[in-house]
C-alpha cells in the first residue's frame, strides 16, 4: 500500500504527472493517449468494476475518497485533473 504524497507540496503540473503515472500503471494504458481533451472512460476502457479501482488508486495516491456520483460530471482528463485539484485544495485548506 503506497503512502499518499503530501498534496500541499505539489504543483498542478506535478499532480497531473502523478495522475498520468498511476493511470498508466493501473490501467496499462499508452501514456500518449492521455491528453486533456481525451475521454477518460473511453481512453482507459473503464467498466463499472474499473471505477472501483479508480477510487482505490486515487485514495492511495492522494488520500481522499471519491464518491461515485462525482464521476457523473467527469468526462475528459481535464475534468478529472480539475476535480483532483479541487479535492487536494480542499484537503489542504
Amino acid at each position: 500500500m503506497s503512502i499518499p504524497t503530501t498534496p500541499a507540496a505539489m504543483t498542478k503540473e506535478e499532480i497531473i504527472e502523478k495522475i498520468k503515472g498511476f493511470l498508466v500503471e493501473e490501467f496499462e494504458t499508452d501514456a500518449a493517449k492521455i491528453t486533456p481533451e481525451a475521454n477518460l472512460r473511453e481512453t482507459l476502457d473503464l467498466d463499472s468494476l474499473d471505477y472501483v479501482d479508480l477510487v482505490v488508486v486515487i485514495e492511495s495516491n492522494f488520500g481522499f475518497k471519491v464518491v461515485g456520483e462525482d464521476f457523473i460530471n467527469i468526462h475528459t482528463f481535464q475534468d478529472f485533473y480539475d476535480y483532483c485539484f479541487n479535492k487536494v485544495a480542499q484537503k489542504t485548506a
Binding site: 490501467f27 496499462e28 468494476l49 474499473d50 472501483v52 479501482d53 482505490v56 485514495e59 475518497k65
Partner: protein, 406 residues
Amino acid sequence: MGRVVITGMGAWSCLGKNLEEVKDSLFHGRSGIILDPERKSWGYRSGLTGKVEPAQLKGLLDRRARIQLSEEAEYAYLATLEALKNAKMDMEFIEKNEVGILYGNDSSAKAVMEAIDIVRAKKDTMLIGSGSIFQSMNCTVTMNLSTIFKLKGINFTVSAACASGSHAIGLGYLFIKWGLQKQIVCGGAQEVNPYAFGSFDGLSAFSIREADPTKASRPFDRDRDGLVPSGGGATVILEDYDSAVKRGAPILAEVVGYGFSSNGEHISNSSMDGQIRSLQMALDDAKMTQHDIDYINAHATSTPGGDRAEAQAIDAVFGKAKPMVSSTKSMTGHECWMAGASEIVYSMLMMQHNFVAPNINFENPDEDSAKLNIVTKTVERNIDVFLSNSFGFGGTNSTLIIKKIK
C-alpha cells in the same frame, strides 16, 4: 453410456512448472519440500511447505483478468493452459462447443484475509478494489477460468476437502458418461501461503522434521510424524471418446471407474470401512477385480492415523494381488484440494512413460504398511491400469481408476 477419455493434462506444482519438469522430478524421486522461515515468524508449529513457483501472468492475461485471479486460480489457469494446448483444443473449438469446467477448490484464505485487512485499516469496503470478490469466493477457479476461456458448458466448483480434485474428475466422468457433456475441464487447485494453513497447523497435523525438509513427508514409514502442506494447480481434459476421435485429439487414457463414500463417523479421523467402500465401488464401476490394478497412487499423507487406515483398507481389498503402491505426497507434500487431480496427472505421466515413481523416505514399515507392495525406488515398468485414492475431512472418500488406451 459413453466412454470417457483424457485428452490433455497440465500441472503447476512444487515438482515443476509443466509436465516435462514434473515427470523428471517424479522419475528421479525429487522432493519439492522446503522450510519457510516466514511461517515460523507467523507462529506456525511447522514451517515446512511445498515450494511452488509464483505465477507470472503479465503478457498472458489482461489487467482485468489478472486482478480477479486468486493465487490458486493463477496456478489452475497455467495448468489449464497447458492441458488445453496438449489436448489440441483451441478457442475456435471452445467457441463452437459447450465445453464445461468442474474444478476442486476449498478455500481462498489469502484473498479473504487481505480484503479484511484493508477494511479494518481503512474502514471503507470500496477500497478493497474490484478484483477481491472474484478472488475470495470458493469458486474463484471456475468463475475465472470459465470467463477467460469462454466456456459454455457445466460450470461449478467441487468443495470436498482433500478429495475435491478427485471428486471433480469423478463428476466430470459421470457427466460425460451419461451423455450430458462432451468435454469438461477438470482439476484441482490449492493456495500455498501462510493464511491458508494456520488452522491446519494448529491441529499439530504437520511434520516438525524441520531439520531435514525433504525427509519430512514419509507416507507409510514407521517414523512419520505428520503431513507437509503444499499446493498448485492440476488439470485434465475429460472428453467423450467419440468426440476425441472425431476431432483427432490425442487420447491419453480412459477413465473407467469412480467410487465414493462418506465415512459417517469422525470429522478428521480416517475410516477403513469408508475407504473400502469407495475402493470397492470404483472396482465394481470399472468391472475390474483387484488383479486388474497395476499401481495404486495412495492418498497417504504421512500422518500416523491416516496412513494406517489406508494401509489396512488397501490390504483388505488388494491383499491377494498386492499391486505396486506409492504415495507421491512423499515428494510433493499434501496438495490438499488439488491432490486428487494432481495425483491423476502424476500417475498418468508414469503410465505414459512406463515407470512407477517412488514413495521416497519409506525406510521402515510399520505393522500395516509391511503388508503392502510399496515402491521405494523408481521402477521402470508398463502400467495398464492405475487407481488413485483421495480422502478428506468430514469423511469424504473418492477413488478413480484409469486405464491405458491400446
